[in-house]
Amino acid sequence: MGLHKSEYKGLLGWIDARMPTMMSEYKKHMSEYYAPKNFNFWYFFGGFALVMLVLQIVTGIFLTMHYKPDARYAFESVEYIMRDVPGGWFIRYMHSTGASFFFLVVYLHMFRGLLYGSYRKPRELVWIFGCLIFLCLMGEAFFGYLLPWGQMSYWGAQVIVNLFGAIPFIGPDLAIWIRGDFVVSDATLNRFFSFHVIAIPLVLLGLVVAHVLALHDVGSNNPDGVEIKDKLDPRTGRPLDGIPFHPYYTVHDVYGLALFLLAFFAILFLAPEMGGYFLEWNNFIPADPLTTPPHIAPVWYFTPYYSVLRATTEDFMWVLAAGVAAYAILLFLVLQRAAVKYAILIVALVLVVLMIGGPLKLDPKFWGVVLMGLSVTIFFALPWIDQAPVKSMRYRPLWHLGLLVAFSVVFLILGYLGTQQPTPFSTYIAQACTLLYFAFFLLMPWWSRAGEFKPVPDRVVFAAH
């Protein structure tokens, strides 16, 4: 017969006999996936991110039915959706509010990772997939932002694509290749549309699946940073501190989701522009290649990195070069292997020369781009630069938490400054914050080991509700 012998009856039995994968995967990821029972507030955001992904895809499908990726009609077609398509305003606001909320929950989700050391062994791959998702999400947001074809869409894309022009030798040609034209134009709009609606979402979905699969292979971390798989029930072989994801965390997440949706819909219905942060005012002016807006700022979720870019001025290069030299000397002093030590010195020397070395130096704009890129990608390094003997902040010295909070404040300050017109004073602040931002990561191998650590309990800390 070739049929699998099913334990189920009826329709489910019929399907299971022919496709046992369905029930076995359901068990593996839902009803028999054992998650630590001590999840707290911070563990909502991963699920919310998944909901936002689905929401963006579904609303995106409906928007694509009415949107015209043509420089002549794009702006109009968005307003057509807002005015003439039944319920169109709702779909569009869900998508625009959704974009901001997606980033909001992803940032909180990442903060959770830093708080409880969720990226530490054995979850490095989970973290790397997560970082790749974050990069994709930034690409997705960037490409999508051009589509309404307003002034901010247009000039934002122009500024960001021009950044590629700062790369030595190939830069200018690369920028033209990306735009498909000498300026952002219809050609650019069409390719960005293609990236936004199919290319990036495909990759994004794949990465999300990989992220979840990798997580379910090693199991979830928890606020105590205790490995629940180390303490199994001798009878059943299940983690003593684990509970089936379904139904416990499904009902739990549905409850959390309801509260989340309250905030989401409050903004969507009552303040969809969110004071100019979710929908920028300038973007209600159709794109005009001949008029540069006086102030170009990306949407709030990009502004911390944008601040890093703007902070990298000609004068700041000296500070950066000094920073690179100091860090190289630090590494030289602490590292053991001679080959590595000298290699680092040579690399640092080359960097310093390219930063400030008279005729050999590269445009500060290029270094701004490098720093901006680094400020996003440095998250990848976390599993290796965090050297603390315990995972969770709960059992680390209190000042470690202080540093994490300080880092978050620096991130928020950079974010705020990125929305504002730069002044000489605010540029100094942004530069100081940029240094602190990188110092947090670059010095982590040392500070994360320092201080008094508290003993980690054998089992998770949990009080029944």
């Binding site: 739990h252 309250l262 009552l270």
Partner: protein, 278 residues
């Protein structure tokens, strides 16, 4: 400091409607009376003014005529009282003037006004406040091609289209400028017929450059009626920028209530399930 002084000046002069120069920060703008947004009579008056005065040069090409049903007008009324040309109620509000011609005549094609209240909003001021200040901020200025200037938008190409409704005003422009002989205060008085006279007083010490305009209406009742009409017009522009806004906020309350009820149910369900986790 400028802001504080300006505020005091405003409080002091009861009849002197003072709003300031646009060029960025520190401008005082009378708040647009938001209550007009909820008043159909105001919105309809705004629509009438819009169709009569604005919709000759400015289009609103994202706005359909029959959308005005939102503000209590039926197709018959829209056709009879608002559409002057041969357009149908299902058409969008376009104008006959070609942008290329407009550019020759005014130096710049008048912008489409469909979403202008949103487009003119910034972190410094709200779009409705700006429009309310702008439409009441015209003053005579012989140095511009149209003979008009505007304190909310300096050297704007647009003339004062509504001047007949507003009536004559006496204008005082007070500027602190940097001259070759140091800073000076230049006070320009423009009388009701548009004749200007200037006096320049040298100042000692350091002074920030400033620009302030104040008005004294000749007919105060007419001025008040004009301000009210402008408020209606701005209300209409705000409505037009996002016609679904009122539906949205009404619906929103119900959606939030529904989710609130759902949240309570989800919370209880969660409690029931988690009772057996120890």
């Amino acid at each position: 400091m400028k802001k504080v002084l300006l505020f005091l000046a405003l409080v002091a002069g009861t009849f002197w409607g003072a709003v300031t120069h646009a060029a960025g920060e520190g401008i005082h703008m009378d708040p647009f009376p938001e209550a007009r947004l909820k008043n159909f009579a105001s919105l309809q008056n705004g629509a009438r003014l819009f169709a009569n005065y604005c919709l000759n040069c400015h289009s609103a090409s994202l706005m359909r005529w029959n959308r005005l049903q939102d503000i209590g007008l039926d197709d018959r009324q829209i056709k009879d009282f608002l559409i002057f040309g041969t357009q149908k109620v299902g058409d969008v509000m376009t104008v006959a003037m070609r942008p290329a011609d407009a550019k020759v005549w005014f130096g710049k094609a008048p912008p489409d006004l469909s979403v202008i209240a949103r487009a003119r909003t910034s972190f410094e001021y709200s779009g409705p406040d700006y429009l309310y200040a702008f439409l009441r901020g015209f003053y005579r200025d012989a140095s511009t091609p149209t003979g008009w200037n505007n304190m909310a938008s300096a050297n704007i190409a647009m003339p004062h289209v509504l001047w007949e409704r507003q009536g004559p005003r006496e204008t005082t422009i007070e500027r602190v400028v940097e001259t070759e002989k140091g800073p000076a205060r230049v006070v320009t008085e423009i009388d009701r017929d548009g004749n200007a006279s200037s006096t320049t007083t040298p100042l000692s010490g350091h002074h920030e450059e400033s620009f302030e305009v104040s008005f004294k209406p000749v007919d105060e009742l007419r001025e008040r009626q004009y301000d009210s009409d402008v408020a209606d017009l701005v209300a209409y522009l705000v409505y037009m920028t996002d016609p679904s806004a009122s539906t949205r906020s009404h619906l929103g309350v119900w959606v939030l209530l529904l989710i609130g009820v759902f949240a309570v149910a989800a919370w209880r369900l969660n409690r029931v399930y988690w009772r057996d986790v120890h």
